[in-house]
């Protein structure tokens, strides 16, 4: 009886770590942080090139390239955000 309950407790303790989130840079948080950092960098570069082109330093090719890359990054971010919000609303609609 006593052995059985202790075995059950051991099994329970062994299965619990499976549900804990992974730590470290391999987890989802690190990836999202990397993505956000790259996104901010691309945005900053695009703005800087646009300012340079307005002032007359950069040529139009560089401006178009920077704006296209910024557009690509913003579209990716917006689409992923919409998907995340959709998923969150789906969870909220779950009957409890």
């Amino acid at each position: 009886m006593d052995i059985k309950s202790s075995l059950a407790a051991q099994n329970y303790a062994a299965t619990r770590p499976a549900t804990t989130p992974k730590a470290g840079p391999e987890g989802a948080g690190g990836t999202i942080a990397n993505f956000a950092g790259e996104f901010a960098d691309t945005l900053k570069q695009g703005e800087q090139t646009a300012i340079d082109a307005m002032v007359g330093d950069a040529d139009p090719n560089a401006l178009v390239q920077a704006l296209a890359q910024t557009e690509l990054a913003v579209e990716t971010a917006v689409t992923v955000r919409n998907k995340v919000v959709d998923a969150y609303q789906e969870i909220l609609r779950m009957p409890v």
Partner: protein, 130 residues
Amino acid sequence: MNAFEKAIAAASSGMQSQASRLRFVSENIANADTPGYRRKVISFEQVMDGPRATGQVAVGPVTLDRSALPRIFDPSHPLADAQGYYQGSNVDLVVEIADAREAQRSYEANLKMFEQTRQMSRALLELLRK
């Protein structure tokens, strides 16, 4: 930098190089009648990131065409020598026009690649939207 951004950067560097090639072609054409002018020739080279090639293209240093300058007979010209000859420019308009047309075609090809890349990335993101 993902593959789409690299493709955009490569196409953009190609457009920039062709634009500066066109610039030198128009300088040559503008100076076709300038005495003693030698036509400018540019070369293309890879852009290196340390030891690795980035796949982008850039314009190399400008060199001058070393072919002989033509001697033009015009005794009334201020630069004419005792025999009435002066040295013209070695710009051949036919060559310059062909070069300009080649630059234009190459620019168009790079522009198409630019558009194609954007279209592909947009189509990929379209999958995530419902």
